[in-house]
């Protein structure tokens, strides 16, 4: 009896190995993400701010501190404010449409029907295709006289071609391609949210006598709201920071009608060589997604806490 007790007593002489020390483990597990965030988020951001505070151009790459000069000149420019307005419009319209179409597509993804094994990957295709490639295809579709769009517009009696010479049509085209591209992502996010609604709760609504409209508005929608908010946020951030679609489709034209802050920063900084100015515009774009993100997360968290 006594020997058994001695064997099972904790061995005071042995200390735990490194894996037993929780303080150390915390840092070991945190390190990769700290390194990642520093190298790929904090440093580039700091670099962008540093660039924005200089007048560096491609032809005069030497760093010279110019203070807030680039910011001031950007804010004093009509093109900047116009691009800001376009960014807001473009982001808002795209996000609303993506959420609406995504919600429909989410139900398609969840529906049980013959051949859904084929439809599901097809639905995701627009998102998985590289943006530059798909935007080019769209440009051909919209542009060329032999394309379906050209044929359709002619059939409808619209004056031929030249859709990108009319600001509203050009903007519509950019929005349409964006919606087409981002809807699958939003659909997947929202489908996940829909499957998370307990079947019991949906059954209860049916037994409680609610018709389809009441079930959708009073049960499904409120319970799916967190996933809708996440889908909207992701869409908005991806839209307002996107360069590719505008660059390929309209290059900001006609006459800057589709120029967003992101494409303006790209045009000035990368194409025009005014690195400092491009960086300043990009830094000024930053508060937009940031404000959207914090606002949405606050709403979602408040709902979750209730």
């Amino acid at each position: 009896m006594i020997r058994v007790a001695a064997d099972t007593a904790p061995d005071a002489r042995r200390r735990g190995g490194p894996a037993d020390r929780e303080g150390l483990l915390t840092w070991v597990f945190l390190l990769p993400s700290v390194v990642y965030l520093t190298a790929l988020v904090v440093l580039p951001l700091a670099l962008a701010v540093a660039l924005a505070l200089s007048g560096v151009t491609a032809t005069a790459p030497a760093y010279r501190f110019t203070g807030a000069g680039e910011f001031a000149s950007a804010l004093g420019e009509g093109a900047f404010w116009r691009a800001l307005g376009d960014t807001l419009l473009f982001t808002a319209v795209s996000t609303v449409l993506v959420v609406l179409c995504g919600q429909v597509l989410a139900h398609v993804l969840l529906a049980r029907f013959r051949g859904r094994w084929l439809v599901r990957p097809l639905v995701l295709l627009p998102w998985t295709t590289p943006a530059a490639l798909s935007a080019t295809s769209w440009r051909w579709l919209l542009d060329s006289a032999d394309s379906p769009a050209g044929w359709l517009t002619r059939a409808l009696g619209v004056p031929d071609g030249a859709w990108h010479t009319r600001p509203a049509v050009a903007m519509g085209a950019v929005v349409a391609v964006h919606v087409w591209r981002l809807t699958p992502l939003a659909a997947v996010v929202m489908a996940a949210g829909l499957t998370a609604i307990p079947r019991d709760v949906r059954d209860a609504a049916r037994v409680d006598g609610a018709g389809a409209a009441r079930r959708a508005l009073e049960v499904t929608l409120p319970l799916a709201l967190p996933s809708i908010a996440v889908a909207a946020l992701v869409t908005a951030v991806l839209t307002c920071a996107d360069v590719t679609v505008v660059a390929v489709l309209t290059h900001g034209g006609p006459g800057g009608a589709t120029q967003t802050l992101a494409t303006l920063a790209y045009t000035r900084g990368a194409e025009g060589g005014a690195l400092g100015q491009g960086a300043a515009i990009a830094v000024l774009l930053l508060p937009l997604p940031l404000a959207g993100a914090t606002g949405l997360f606050r709403v979602v968290r408040r709902r979750a806490e209730r």
């Binding site: 307990p198 019991d200 709760v201 059954d203 209860a204 609504a205 049916r206 037994v207 409680d208 006598g209 609610a210 018709g211 009441r214 009073e218 049960v219 409120p222 319970l223 709902r303 209730r306």
Partner: protein
Amino acid sequence: MKVVEVRGLVKVYEGPGKKHVRALDGVDLATARSECLVLLGPPGSGKTTLLRTIAGLESPTHGEVHLGGHLVNGLPPRIRRVGLVVPSYALYPHKTVRGNIEFPLKAEHTPRAMRERKARWAADLLGIPHLLGRRPGRLSVDERRRVALARALAREPAVLLLDEPLSGVDARLRAAARDELRSLQRRLGTAMICVTDDQAEAMGLGDRVAVLDAGRLRQVGTPQDLYDEPVDTFVATLIGTPPMNLVPRGDRLIGFRPEHLLPAEEIPPEGRVTMPLRIDRIEYLSGDRHVYGSVARIGQETRVIARLPATMTTPLAGGQTREFAVPGDRLRFFDAEYGNRTAPVRIGG
């Protein structure tokens, strides 16, 4: 008039790999006004499927569902006017307790003032008026159960369908919750169909109990019927704690309840059947003694349990072999192969 009646109900699910599962296999059952009918059976016996079919959440493969004398096959759940409570309680997490209780009334377009009055009435009935402003996330399991019941009762359904209504209740409070549910149902006079896999709950709750196994009804009757006159060994061993003892003898099984197997001297000699009981051990449970051992002579040697009431103080100890007996009219006989009830056979002694 029958409040709920099902005829020849069959429900076949297509399981994985094109395998067909007969969840319900020809069920005929009816319940009268202000009756509490309990569906009892092991998990997977089809109880919940039967309940959901009555509610309209599942459609039967064959057979008919009648509510209040009307055939309701194919009608959606929302016009059946049944109250349903499921084990998870399925409350709307984004609505307050008031919003939850009022939801079925709102769906019926009940005017606001009436809605508020009925919600208040249902909340008072279940003792939860102080919770009306809260959300389900902040409620205890018992409070959620009350809200679910209030929601099901608010529009005064013709029948209340309860799936495991007491499963979430703390074991110590279960008897009280059962009693409360029963008196509530008596007061309202609403027909009630409950599903449970707990035989004690079924016997305590039901006016009648329907025993289901593998989608078929084994027996329907009052708790006393089921306990005293089980139609087969399935019902005999499902009901009662400890269950009925079954001793093989030839092509028969001799069944007797533990409380009828008593020391021989406690039973009047005429008509009794005696047997030696080799005692292994004794459990002392709520005053009764449960004697575990094995009997011989009346049939194959079999492990049995005898339950001696607290009033019987006969000294017994493990390792002894004592003469025990069962009154002859307490013996039940079953077919050894099929388990169904058979005519009595004479046993000497």
